[in-house]
């Protein structure tokens, strides 16, 4: 038993080593603290103890110490280990050797007295092993099973006089099996050979998935064993059992408890008598199926429900299939497994009114207790399929008010929409509005009206705003009227009035036409206004003549012949006509 320690160069102090325990007599199921103290150096790192027979060891931690005695300066380091005796009786912690800086130091051996608290009195101690006070057992109901046969595997954790905490569910090697989750573990007490045991029982279902020799386990249960700390027992009121328990001051020590493995022989299912409908179910199963509704229209869904329940390998069992599936539109089934019940829900839509039934479903499984195949049949289910409703009335589907009605995704048909029934009005091939004459006639009329409207607007607008233009426009009208009047005067032989009116007429006309203020009209003004228009000199002289003539006659009141008036009238007429033509 030797330990090589890589210590830093130690000061040239005397190095000594000693091992102590805190208590020498303990009950089985408790631990002692072993402290290894190295004096004279602190430069030693922690080390694991070598395996010590009959003990389970665990490192707790180091502690450093400096003391001054008689001016002597001493440093030390201690390592504390928790030692759990694995059996009762006189046990020995052997000498331990520690090598520091090439020098080997050894501790003394320590004797421990471990007693079994279950044995009354201080009588001679039987050799009791801790393994007998806490252990795990694995149990299977039978060593010979069929493939896929469900079986209950149990793991028992026995404890007696040992407090344990934090028990984990058992782990085990399950190669070749399918297992389900553990059920809620049970706890009870039992007296075995005079000893009272606390038992925790774990149970789960397991199915072998291949034939031959298989083994389950070993089952491993992890837990913490709570050590009683003897050292402090009764030393203070605060640390009595009540407070210890209350504060859970006991030291926890992780433990791995292993059971023995179990061997199993897995037999194949018998071939003889195996029905065609067999899908692998083994156990004690119950099959049921139903449909709803039984009366539908074409295109409406029918819900098919199947249920397999009981003890068995439900996850390996398949549901029977629909036989005349080509008569239905099938949606993907929804399969659920809850506990010991496996259900299937599937939507079927009958394709035609010819479908009269959903054929029977055959289900079979191997019954373990009867040791033979069992068959059961559900159906056939008669159904009535009516033609699809034309008026689109409401159709109740299901009708049982289940919340689990499956609404299948709507599949819209694909085709063209039906023809038009009403012929509408036929027109000639290629006959369009844009090539019809009447349209263009109307259009031209409308455009003409608009253009007319615009012209009208321009005109009225100018008459309102341009007085010169208005006078010009009026001039010819007034002249015409004036000429008619003078004509009448001439015919009546009123020569004075005739020349008066003619003079006024001509003056007014020229004033309007040439935009000259009415009072200032004379031949010079006229000449000035028309000088750019390449006027006929004859006309201008005619104007002058007329003006002169009128002036002289108005003031001379001489007798004028009708012929002279005629000449004046026609001259004025000619002048106005010429002006009308020439001046715009």
């Amino acid at each position: 038993m030797c330990m090589l320690l890589t210590a830093a160069p130690a000061q040239a102090q005397d190095i000594s080593i000693e091992a102590t325990v805190n208590v020498n007599r303990i009950p089985l199921g408790s631990a002692v603290n072993l402290t290894i103290t190295i004096k004279g150096t602190q430069n030693v790192s922690a080390f694991d103890l070598p395996p010590i027979p009959d003990f389970d060891t665990k490192f707790i931690g180091p502690s450093r110490n400096i003391s001054v005695v008689n001016n002597q300066y001493t440093t030390s380091i201690s390592f504390t280990y928790s030692m759990l005796p694995l059996k009762a009786g006189k046990l020995q912690i052997p000498m331990l050797q520690v090598t520091i800086d090439g020098n080997t130091y050894s501790t003394d051996a320590i004797m421990l007295d471990v007693y079994d608290p279950a044995v009354e009195g201080d009588g001679p101690q039987a050799e009791t092993e801790l393994r007998e006070k806490i252990f795990v057992q694995l149990q299977v109901p039978s060593e010979e099973v069929y493939i896929n046969e469900p079986m209950q595997v149990k793991v028992f954790l026995y404890t007696s006089g040992v407090a344990i905490r934090d028990i984990q569910y058992p782990k085990m090697d399950m190669t070749g099996f399918i297992d389900e989750a553990y059920e809620q573990p049970r706890q009870y007490q039992q007296v075995i050979e005079g000893k009272r045991f606390e038992i925790v029982e774990f149970e789960k279902s397991v199915y072998p998935t291949r034939t031959g020799e298989l083994s389950i386990g070993p089952a491993q249960v992890d837990c913490n064993i709570v050590m009683r700390n003897n050292r402090r027992r009764g030393s203070s009121l605060m640390e009595d059992d009540f407070f210890s328990a209350f504060f859970d001051r006991g030291e926890k020590r992780p433990a791995k408890l292993l059971s023995d493995p179990v061997k199993l022989t897995v037999k194949p299912l018998p071939k003889e008598g195996q029905p065609a409908s067999f899908t692998g179910g083994v156990g004690n199963l119950d099959f049921s199926a139903d449909i709803s509704p039984a009366e539908v229209n074409v295109g409406d869904p029918i819900t098919l429900r199947m249920k397999i329940q009981g003890k068995g390998n439900l996850n390996a069992v398949a549901f029977p299939e629909l036989k005349n599936s080509d008569q239905f539109k099938l949606y993907d089934p929804i399969i659920k497994e809850e506990g010991r019940v496996k259900t299937l829900e599937q939507v079927l839509i009958p394709k035609s009114t010819d479908v009269t039934e959903i054929p029977a479903f055959d289900f079979s499984y191997f019954n373990i207790s009867l040791n033979k195949y069992v068959e059961s049949r559900e159906g056939p289910f008669p159904i009535k399929v009516s033609p699809a409703e034309q008026d689109g009335g409401l159709t109740m589907v299901g009708g049982l008010g289940q919340s689990s009605i499956i609404v299948p995704p709507e599949q819209l048909g694909e085709d063209i929409v039906f023809i038009k029934d009403s012929p509408g009005k036929f027109h000639r091939l290629g006959q369009r509005m844009y090539n019809s004459v009447s349209f263009y006639v109307v259009l031209i009329l409308v455009m003409a009206a608009l253009i007319g409207g615009y012209i009208w607007y321009r005109l009225t607008h100018r008459l309102e705003t341009d007085s010169a233009f208005a006078r010009k426009l009026k001039a010819s009208k007034l002249a015409k009227r004036g000429l008619k009047h003078t004509q009448q005067l001439m015919e009546q032989g009123k020569e004075q009035e005739f020349y008066d009116e003619t003079f006024k007429l001509l003056k007014r006309y020229l004033s309007d036409k040439l935009v000259i203020p009415a009072g200032t009209v004379n031949i010079h003004q006229v000449r000035e206004k028309v000088k750019d228009l390449s006027f006929d000199e004859m006309i201008l002289s005619a104007v002058k003549t007329t003006f002169d003539e009128c002036e002289s006659i108005r003031y001379a009141s001489a007798r004028i012949s009708n012929g002279q008036m005629q000449a004046t009238q026609s001259r004025v007429q000619k002048v106005i006509e010429y002006f009308e033509r020439k001046v715009r």
């Binding site: 039906f418 023809i419 012929p423 509408g424 027109h427 000639r428 259009l443 409308v446």
Partner: protein
């Protein structure tokens, strides 16, 4: 250049207007139509096609007729002629929902050579606008708007509208006129020379039987007719590829 072509298209359409021959009387066309419907309902699609076509031969048409004819062709598994007639119906009743549905469905059955690129928002809007109206409606709309613009112009003068009102009303109308006249020109351009392939055909490099095939055209595809020559037609596919096909393998809409 394209615009002038569009305008020429309008003028040509106007000129093709007046061809007076004795057309089938309205009453006769209606009874022919009913006969066709009856045959269709009995599933005698070939007979229905015959009855409907008799109306066309009698120089009578309308949207319903083309629609029903297209349906009959569809049921008779003549996808090309079906789409052709749906398209013809669409030019007369572009907003008919049954028609839109059937045309879309028929077009979905046409073999595709390439996945069409998804149309952008703008082109989607433009084609929506162009396809919403018939050519007639678009034409009428444009002319009415022009007349309205004139009328508004006059009214604003006569009634002495305030300047803002004048500007707003005129610019709104001018924008609308632009929208509709451009739509009209696009419509004329798009619809002119459109043809539907009525039987699967190779499109060759040259108008010869022996020429190398450039690409294949499938029944129901739409192409643009560019030129006729000795029983061959030069066509342009959607993606701009050109090729020569025999005249019997397509029909102009």
């Amino acid at each position: 250049m394209k615009w002038t072509r569009g305008m020429i298209g309008v003028v040509l359409l106007l000129m093709s207007a007046f061809s007076a021959e004795a057309a089938m009387p309205q009453q006769e066309a209606v009874s022919q139509f009913v006969l066709g419907n009856q045959a269709y309902k009995e599933g005698a699609y070939e007979k229905a096609i015959e009855e409907y076509r008799a109306i066309l031969e009698g120089d009578r048409e309308n949207g319903h007729l083309y629609y029903n004819l297209a349906n009959a062709y569809f049921k008779n598994r003549q996808l090309g002629y079906s789409i052709l007639n749906y398209e013809r119906a669409r030019r007369l009743m572009p907003r008919d929902s049954d028609l839109k549905f059937n045309l879309a469905y028929a077009e979905s059955l046409v073999r595709k050579t390439a996945q069409p690129e998804p149309a952008g928002f703008v082109s989607e809007m433009i084609s929506g606008h162009v396809n919403f109206y018939t050519l007639d409606e678009m034409f009428l709309m444009t002319t009415v708007l022009v007349v309205l613009l004139g009328a508004v112009f006059l009214m604003s003068r006569f009634l002495k509208w305030p300047r803002v009102m004048k500007t707003v009303s005129r610019s709104v109308l001018i924008i609308l006129i632009l929208v509709y006249s451009i739509g009209l020109i696009l419509k004329v351009r798009v619809t002119a020379d459109q043809a539907v392939i009525v039987s699967n055909t190779p499109a060759n490099f040259e108008p010869l039987e022996t020429a190398t095939m450039r690409f294949e055209l499938f029944e129901g595809m739409k192409v643009k007719v560019l030129r006729y020559k000795d029983g061959w037609v030069k066509v342009e596919r959607d993606d701009g590829l050109l090729g020569w096909v025999t005249q019997t393998s397509l029909e102009e809409i």
